[in-house]
Structures are given as structure tokens and as C-alpha cells.
Symmetry: D2
Subunit: 258 residues, 4 copies
């Protein structure tokens, strides 16, 4: 699909604040950037680097105000939907680069969930079947509710509370997948038709040698997702990081099928 | 039933260590002490006080060694088993003294479980029915496993881990009951036929104006339970508390239908 | 001192919601109620009961709206300020009714803090000296910041975060006091000169056979405090509890030296 | 220095258990392998792969017993000790590959420690000075005690408890370093003169463009350390991972200056 995305981030900062912004769409094989434009005002030097995964890091020192506008048109047609079935690979078969996504992380303490995950989903042998069962379980047992979680909440909190937002849903899905031995990571993305529009967080699982996106909130169609960044969990995929507190002035995100 | 219980606790202490032991059976209306004997060697002054609930507190300063032997025969025939049905009282109907047992405590963070408890058990209207459903849920979803929990583990940990020992089972049951609006407390007791013999922890719920014991581990028959102490959770019902670390030399507990 | 206090609580509820309000000043020996008036509109039956500590519990079923107004004038002159020195009693000397306040509770996991407390404050032998050292430590190491804690935050969270509000300050002080073997509890109160006016939470410690209030935030003078309720921690001293969510319409609190 | 290391790991497994062992010394620029020998009995296929950091991953499916013996002689003379001073780089100056080590991880929730770290160490401007202050703080405030922490304990637990083992010390140091903006990671290593001999965990910080090892327990000289693996925290550097529980039969580790 062709998706048009845009964001404007305006923050007031102490001049000299070091910042890092990851808002540009990733240069990954599952999507193609048709056009894009980044403008930063007042003019400041924001260095852009692309890492081995195609994630693009903007870094630099801010002036008193950061006013960043990004617009892009993307074709995500190369991204495949999760197949109907697929074998989960053994730990000893996985590419080394995938192994970290089997391990517990700040917001995904999968080490605590092995017994639950195996009791609840262990009887399913197919990898995709397990992921679908995890997704169904979350849809059935967790409510989408804003305000019950914080930036400190991990998947164990969400599992107890049974409520949260997209980030919490992703964390719980990732946690349960890892506890089942399925590599899983968090993806920040633009999401067409998400209401209200915002940056979105989804899960991505590694099955049959490839990564597949799954939106556990079921609030946005996967065909409308545009990858920005991925990592072990929300700690790794912040769209803006500063070394001093800054004041939000305006933050607008949009994404639509174009 | 007539139950014969005994315990011997031997600890090495720094002389002068202040200690508190709650090992004698409670003087409560649901059980009658037929005979009992307490001996402490070397002879030391352990003051005994009985509180308003019939719980008996032994307190004093230890010699280099504490060797405490307690034996008793109890008739617990006045204790009733949980009836088949019973109305859960509203918060505004409960005796004031019962209200604290509706509130979260150190190991029973019931405030975090309201959504889960209401989703899972809220459809049941009868109070006893809810307690039975909680007990069945725990029996189905939690494994009795030693070594996975510590003295710091709370019910949220057990809920995630899905494993624990009697104390953890009691904490989870109490937590879920309170989240449903049913007062619940922890009871330490002697338990006939418990194997291996040990102090036991069970839940007690307040329904239809009375307290009812429920053993969530299902390891010992409720008719074989003899009450020692009750409180909000394990923090309140330790059988031995000292103000300095002491070394366990020997600890024997027994309880049998006599 | 003579203090004039008032509060108005207006909530929209589903008719029939059971509620419990603890907003009247306590009938305790450390303060005298000169006059008071409670009005509830629309007229509804709110039963009032006073427990053994003089805490007053209003309970009943709400109409569609609860509009509660309470005004009182209190002489708290019988309350003494913490003396300059005072011996901490041993566990075996304390009244039985005080023992629960030595134990960990939902928001005060004092069991985790024994090593820290003894390392930091253990060298001080006087009980009041220890409490003063705890109060100084908190004033030095913890910032008063709104918004960093939630209703779920316990003292371990505050200890790590080094920031919180009055409730968090009280919890940390209580936790450290208990870890040192000093009974401590949370008190909800009206506080003259607190800005902005609000219900306030302070710590109360048991030394030399009496309870003494300590405001760890140092935001309100202790001579301006009027006791409403006390308990193990914030879980026990909520001013309003309902069995269904209600919507806050208005909440005004005032307290002044009169 | 020339160091001779050896380990023997014997485990009983269900045949077919997939396992991953990371016990060989890393092929990194700060150490040179003079000789080494790996034997596995009964003969089984354990594939060895070396990742971009020189970490060596042995993976395969076990027979009924795994008996792995590894011996090596290493020259770690190329490893430099932490210099006396060194500038901490800004987030926007760091190599992209280093950024993950600034972020919170499973056992190092550095996001919770920013206020504490800045209050306690923020006044120090030199990067090495900060790390040394963190190391001194840990040495002063945390006791080396076995048995108080578990495989689930994170740095917030250690910070509250003020006690732990090498892994906990490393986690706390890493957490505080990250909270100060200094990239930090966990290193598993062989450690000459460590008593009793065991795998050791130390911290490694990134300052002035290089990684430097720091042993926060001060139990082993840094000149006697041989790198096996590094990662975000203990979750990433396990020496043995299996997809089913296995029984430890024997585990011997040795390391000495040769």
C-alpha cells in the first residue's frame, strides 16, 4: 500500500540540549520510501546516520526551540502478512543477530512467564499458531485503557492489571512470545487509520526465518503500518530522547492510505 | 475433631535477643483447648499475652539458646465448614473490625487485581460461589512448587509465576477475594495429615457474618486445622520473630487426628 | 491551637453505590472537637460509627450525587510535639495493639530496608534521634515532586526515584522507622497553612509509650495538624472509598489557624 | 598477563534438549588466545559461531549427558586499565552500536535512577571520575552477601537491599552509569585469583571511545580478567542456556596467573 505520513514535533529546550530523534521511516527491505522531506527550524545541525537495520538516527545539539517537520510517502507493499502456519525455530537454529530478542528486557521480563506461557500455549506446536493464540489471549483478557500504565510499567504489571495502551499490549505479547521461545521485538511505526493518530507500537515475531508484524491492539491494519524503528522493547524505540527535560509545545502525527 | 499438635523450636541466639513466638493455639470460639503444655529451656521469662482475638503472644529476651517445646490437644469441632452458599456483605454492612481485611497488604496487593478479579469471577453473585471459583482457579492455574518464591514474594509474583508454596497460595486467594470485595485474611495453623508436617498457611474469608477457612493448596483437610494466629498476610503471622538473626538448630512440627 | 477545617466533596455516582467516607476529625485524646457540622445532600442515610481509636466511619449507599459538606473547629492543644529524646521500646515491651505498626504493609515494605536502615541510622541509640535522622535524611535526599508517583507506588519506588508527594514521604519515613524497630503509622489530617490546601498525610511514630506526629514533607506545621484517621499506610486511610467508580465533581479542603 | 583458565560443565539432560553454551574466551582485540582446547563427551555436534564482537556461541542438541571441558591460555596484556581521567561523550557523539548500552535493560532499570545518580554523582564532570565515584559508592554502601538475591533480582532490588553478589554489583554499577549518561554493559569472565573460583561478572563502561572493565566487587584484579561475553546485563551473558531444565552434575571453573 502507499501510505502518506507526517509528523511535527515542537519542543522548547535549553540551548545546547543534546537530542536524538528517530522519526524517519526505516530504510528496510519491507518498505520503499517514495519521497520524504525533513525540515528543522531554526536551522541546526542534526546528523543523520543509518544503522545496519536501516534505522535512521538524527542526533545533535538543540537551539532554544526544536521545530521538526517530517513528511514521507512510502510503499510498504513488500511487507508480507503473517502466514497461516510456520515452524518456530530452535534456539540453536536462529541467526545470532536474532538471539537477543529471545531474552528478557526492561519491560518484557519473559523469564517470569515461562510457566504461564507453556501452560496456556505450550500445547500448540505451530509457531504461527502460538503467536495467534497469544494475540487472541491478549485481545480477550486485556482492555485498552489509557492512564492505567506509566512509562515505568512492564509486562508483568500489564498482566496483573489487565489493561494498558499499545505499548503495554506490545510488551505483553513480546514477553509471552519470548517465554515460548519465539524471538519477538517492539516496532515503532506510523499507522494509517489509527484513531486518534499517534506513533504506534506493535510486536514483531521471528518465524520461519523472517520477521512478521502483529498489532496486538487490533486498532490499526497491519497493511497500513510503516516501520520507523525496532528494538527489544519501548526503551529502545523512543522517537525523541534528550539529555535534559524539554517542554512539549506541539506534537502532531498523521498517517493515511494515499 | 480432636487434634494433637506439637512443636519443638531450637535456636541459637545472642543472649539478650528479644524474641516473639506465636506457636500456641488460639483461644478462639471455633476451637477448644483440651490440654496443653509449654516448656522453655533454659528457663527464661517469656511473657504470654492473649489479644482480643485469642491470639497468644510469647515475648521476652532469649538466653544463648532457645529450646521451646509446645504440646496440645484441641477439639476444633465448633468450627464450621464453608456453607454451600452465602451472601457477600457490602462494605457498609461489615463490622468495622473486618474492614482492614478488605484492604491491600504487604503480600496481597489487591488494588492491582480488581479488573482481573471482576472479569474472571464478577459474574458470580453468591459470595461462597465466588470463593469457590477463586479456589478452583488457583487449583487449576498454580502449581505447588518449593523454591520458586522467597520471603519477599507477593501475590502479584505468584500470579505471574504460577507457582509457589502454601503461603503464596494463601496470598493469591486473599488478594483475589479482597479484589472482589470479600474480606480475607491469612491464618497460620497446625494441620493434621499435612505431609511433610509443617506450619501451614490458609485463607479465611468473611461471608454472612462469619469467618471461614479455606486451604487453597488442598494439601490438608480443613477439619484437621488448628488456628494459631491470623492477620492480613504472612507479615502478621510469623511463628518466630527476633530482633537479631538467630541460627536454626532444630524445628519439628507435628499434628494428627487423635 | 484552635483550627478551623472544612471540606466539600461532590461526586456523581451510580445510585446505589456503596461508599465509605472518613473525613470527620477523630475523637482522640490529643484533640478536642469544639464544634462540627456535617451535611449530606441529597439527604441519604450515612451511618456513622466510631471505632476504638476514635476514627469515624461514614457508610451508606449513595444517590446519584453525593454532596458532602463538613465543617469543624478543633482544639489540638493536647497534642505534644516529639520530645528531644526518648527510648525506643523493644518488641517485647510494646503494647500488643502497637505491634502491627512494626510490620511491613502494602506501601511500606520495611522488610526490604533493614540493612539500609541499620547501616545508615543504626549507630544512633536514642529513639527520637533515629526518627530525627530519618526525617533529615528524607528532607535531604527526596524531592517533593508531583506526578512521579501513582496510587500504586510504594516506599521502595520512592527510595529509588528520590521524589514524590506527601503520601510517598510518609511511606518512606514509616518504612525506615519500622526497619529500625520503631512502630510507625500513616495519619490523614487537615493541615493548617498547607499550600495548596489538601488532605495531608504524615507519619506517626511510637516512642516512650506514645504516638508522635512527624511531617516528613515539612510543608505544614505539626501544631496545625488535625487527625482524621490513621492506619498502616495510605491503603488504610482513604477519605473516600466506593465499590464502583464515581466521577469527581468538586473537592475543596481548607484548614486555618482560627 | 598470561592467564590459564579451565572449566568443566557436566549436566544431565533429556536427549534432544537444545542448548547454547558461551564459555570460550572471546576473540576480542583486548586479549589473545595462546592455546585452547574444547572437548565434548559424548561426542555431539555443537556448532560454533563467532559474532561481530568476537563472542563465541556453541549451539546444538544434547545427548543424555553433556560433559564439556574447556581449557585455554590467554594473554590479556592488550587490555588497558581505566585511565585516571576521561571525558564522557554526549549521546550524539557515541557510535550507534554503543547506544543500546545507555538504555535500561531487564536487570538495570536505569530510567528509575536518573534523579538519584544526578544528585549523588552529577557534580563530578569527568567521566572516569563519575565511574570511580559510582564504584566507591557501591563499595561503601553494598555488602557482598550470597543468598539475598535471586536470578530475578534487578538493580532496584539491590539498591534497596544493599547486598548481593557479583552479578548484583555489576547491575547496580551499570544502572547508575547509564543513569549518568555513560554507556555500560555486563561482562562475563574468567577471573584469576577469584575465591572461590567461579564465573565472574563485571561492568564495562564506554569512555573516551573505548570500553573499560571495572570489577565493582573488588574481589578479583582487573589484570586477571579474561572476557567470555558481554551484553546489556546478566540476561545476555548466561554461560549455559537450555530449552528444557537440566540437572547440574558438576561444574568446575578455574583461572590463574600462569
Amino acid at each position: 500500500m502507499i501510505i502518506t505520513v507526517a509528523t511535527r514535533l515542537v519542543y522548547d529546550c535549553r540551548p545546547g540540549t543534546h537530542l536524538m530523534a528517530v522519526v524517519q521511516v526505516a530504510r528496510s527491505s519491507d518498505q520503499q520510501i517514495i519521497s520524504e522531506r525533513l525540515t528543522v527550524a531554526p536551522p541546526m545541525h542534526l546528523g543523520e546516520e543509518t544503522d545496519g537495520d536501516g534505522i535512521r538516527w538524527l542526533r545533535g545539539a538543540a537551539a532554544a526551540r526544536l521545530d521538526l517537520v517530517y513528511e514521507a510517502q512510502i510503499d510498504n507493499g513488500a511487507r508480507q502478512l503473517l502466514p497461516r502456519a510456520g515452524r518456530q525455530w530452535h534456539r540453536s537454529e536462529l541467526p545470532l543477530a536474532v538471539l537477543p530478542f529471545l531474552l528478557p528486557s526492561r519491560f518484557c521480563p519473559s523469564d517470569l512467564f515461562v510457566r504461564f506461557a507453556c501452560r496456556e500455549f505450550g500445547g500448540i506446536t505451530d509457531g504461527v499458531g502460538r503467536v495467534m493464540a497469544v494475540a487472541d489471549w491478549i485481545a480477550t483478557h486485556v482492555d485498552y485503557v489509557a492512564g492505567v500504565s506509566t512509562a515505568e510499567s512492564d509486562a508483568a504489571h500489564t498482566f496483573t492489571l489487565r489493561a494498558g495502551v499499545c505499548r503495554d499490549f506490545a510488551h505483553l505479547g513480546i514477553t509471552l512470545s519470548r517465554a515460548l521461545g519465539i524471538p519477538a521485538r517492539a516496532v515503532s511505526c506510523y499507522a494509517a487509520e489509527l484513531a486518534p493518530p499517534d506513533f504506534h507500537a506493535v510486536m514483531e515475531v521471528f518465524i520461519e526465518g523472517a520477521w512478521w508484524m502483529v498489532d496486538l491492539t487490533r486498532l490499526a491494519p497491519v497493511v497500513g503500518l510503516v516501520r520507523i524503528c525496532h528494538g527489544r522493547d519501548a526503551a529502545d524505540i523512543a522517537f525523541l530522547t534528550t539529555d535534559e527535560p524539554c517542554d512539549l509545545v506541539e506534537q502532531v502525527i498523521s498517517a493515511r492510505f494515499a
